[in-house]
């Protein structure tokens, strides 16, 4: 990824040296390529807002050039990199540089101005002032069980106790009398970090869990074993597993958007309140919130924002 950005950086430098005409044609071409419709999922949003947004954003874009630096949450980082890549296809004059560091570092970077945009995978705390959050996507995690499992509704507390190893039998949570097979993600996985933060808090994951290293593998493992339980990000849900209700709330996009489904977190872009963002920064944020940007968000399994 880094290398890819490096290449883009180089070609970007070459481009600026070249004549304006070349730059302009480059923009036109990129715009067409970036809008290869994410048909089914985004149809309603597209139909409603596509025409006005395109008219509004397309005209000023060629004049906006420069660099946007982002720093912060490693959970947001992969999505931000993808958004950066797709934006650089649309606007060949832009350079989007994404660094990690964690949500805390993202807050500090935005406050001090060391980065144009900070990234945080959580809501801001009350003492984190001087910055304005822009929610770019919502990360929802579904707790999944086998389709033949009788348990269908768990509380956050029960999920916590299952994954920390305190509840070991399905009969304690409304299932049959059989041992729970906990399927966990590998250490370092963003989904695992998010799940730990949102559900387990200070508790540790049960050490005896089966480890699978991708959403697909967790789904496969749960789909095959009637006693298994796992968690996957919303984008990975399909018919092979059953997402349980949490505190009686169904795992659905609407419930995530209305904040009634508890295992979700916002992905925030943070901008400094005291100084206006640069034109290119504003253009990038606008792009991220546009239907094209949100299509990228949906593509990567996150819940879009309106």
């Amino acid at each position: 990824m880094k290398r890819l950005v490096g290449k883009k950086l180089y070609s970007g430098a070459v481009l600026t040296v070249m004549a304006f005409a070349l730059v302009l044609t480059g923009c036109g071409g990129g715009n067409n390529g970036g809008n290869n419709g994410q048909g089914a999922t985004n149809a309603p949003t597209n139909a409603a807002t596509n025409a006005p947004t395109e008219a509004a954003t397309q005209a000023p874009e060629p004049s906006v050039s420069g660099t946007v630096t982002l720093a912060g949450s490693t959970s947001v980082q992969p999505l931000a990199e993808e958004l950066g890549t797709s934006y650089m296809e649309v606007n060949k004059d832009a350079r989007i540089e994404v660094a990690g560091g964690g949500s805390g570092a993202g807050v500090k970077a935005a406050q001090s101005g060391t980065a144009d945009v900070g990234m945080a995978s959580r809501a801001l705390k009350s003492e984190e002032t001087g910055i304005k959050p822009v929610v770019i996507a919502i990360d929802g995690i579904a707790v999944v069980v086998n389709k033949d499992n009788a348990a269908a509704d768990l509380t956050t507390e029960q999920v916590k106790e299952i994954f920390s190893g305190k509840i070991k039998n399905w009969k304690d949570v409304g299932g049959s009398d059989s041992n729970i097979v906990v399927v966990n993600r590998e250490d370092g996985s963003g989904t695992r970090d998010a799940f730990k933060e949102l559900v387990l808090g200070e508790d540790e994951f049960v050490a005896e869990a089966i480890i699978q290293n991708s959403t697909g593998a967790v789904r496969e493992a749960v789909g095959q074993d009637v006693n298994a339980i796992g968690y996957i990000s919303f984008g990975g849900l399909n018919d092979s597993v059953k997402a349980v209700k949490i505190n009686g709330v169904e795992a659905s996009e609407e419930n995530i958007k209305s904040h009634s489904y508890p295992i979700s977190r916002p992905f925030n872009f943070l901008v400094n309140e005291s100084s206006d963002p640069t034109a290119i920064t504003q253009a990038f944020i606008d792009y991220v919130l546009s239907p094209e940007g949100q299509a990228v968000v949906a593509d990567h399994g996150y819940v879009t924002v309106e």
Binding site: V181, E186, D187, G188, D193, I210, Q224, A228
Partner: protein, 300 residues
């Protein structure tokens, strides 16, 4: 004149290809050691090698569970795979008629060509569910609850045993074929039965070749990653050391690297390279063993 020049060019070219192989091994070796050494230096060699806890997010890097897991799985694979493979080889050399051999030999070759993901899928869907039935049925009273998942060293061992069959069959087949006819003829002429000739004369005569076959099988089992990840459960815990440990989910060295490389931070990555060093040492020891055996055979 022209021909001499041609000779020279070819020689230089071949030398370069040969040196590339040596260079690659050195490069990879040095790279893995350089990347992995800092962890050993920082946390102490014994703590990393024999530490029973692997928890990178808290900065605890004990490779011991993976070392035990790897040895355990490989041992099971060899205990199942070696006798089977040797049996097939003996059958092909001594007993099978041409028609049957024509059926078995291509089948073995096909077995060698199946990609490891496919073995993994087969293991996950077929072998794992059978083992799970066993664990949750007749053995349920003896096994702890976390040993009733179907993912286990036994499941992985069975899959690996099938995967190493072609290696063991092919090499021991060659070794058995190389035994001079006179040995067999002499034995049979003395009135020894066919079966006794096989296990008293032929197999001992082909011993070093068969051992080489087994060691290469071990090498294959040690290095296998994908299929193992899919069936072993990947739990970084040391299996209990009695028979119930057969049903313990575990993690192998290769699985450890492949599972976690994707998201690893700088220090975590070094710890994974340290895992690589251990694997490297395993392979070096194995290869030295093979070389030693082949040399001894040569001297005879």
């Amino acid at each position: 004149m022209n021909r001499i020049l041609e000779e020279k060019i070819v020689k230089v070219f071949l030398f370069i290809t040969a040196i590339t192989a040596v260079f690659s091994v050195l490069l990879i070796g040095v790279f893995v050691f350089m990347e992995g050494m800092p962890i050993f230096l920082k946390y102490g060699i014994t703590d990393v090698l024999f530490g029973p806890v692997w928890n990178p997010s808290s900065g605890v890097y004990g490779i011991w569970p993976m070392i035990v897991g790897t040895i355990y799985v490989t041992l099971i694979a060899i205990l199942i795979g070696a006798p089977m493979g040797l049996g097939v080889a003996v059958y092909l050399v001594e007993i099978a008629n041409k028609r049957i051999a024509k059926l078995i030999v291509p089948a073995v070759e096909l077995l060698a060509g199946i990609p490891s993901v496919v073995y993994g899928l087969f293991g996950m869907f077929a072998v794992r569910s059978i083992i799970a039935e066993l664990e949750r049925g007749p053995l349920a009273d003896y096994l702890p609850s976390n040993y009733q998942t179907g993912y286990s060293v036994l499941t992985a061992g069975i899959i690996l045993a099938i995967m190493i069959l072609p290696t063991i069959i092919n090499i021991s087949l060659d070794a058995l074929k190389a035994v001079p006819r006179e040995y067999k003829e002499g034995s049979l002429a003395l009135g020894v039965s066919h079966w006794q000739t096989i296990y008293k004369v032929l197999v001992p005569a082909a011993k070093s070749g068969i051992i080489t076959a087994i060691i290469l099988g071990v090498g294959r089992a040690l290095g296998e990653t994908m299929a193992v990840i899919m069936v072993i459960g990947n739990t970084p815990l040391v299996p209990v050391l009695d028979w119930t440990g057969l049903f313990a989910p575990a993690r192998s060295l290769t699985a450890n690297i492949a599972l976690e490389m994707g998201y690893a931070g700088p220090e975590h990555q070094q710890a994974l390279f340290a895992t690589g060093i251990v694997l490297f040492v395993f392979i070096i020891v194995l290869n030295s063993l093979t070389t030693l055996l082949v040399r001894r055979k040569g001297r005879k």
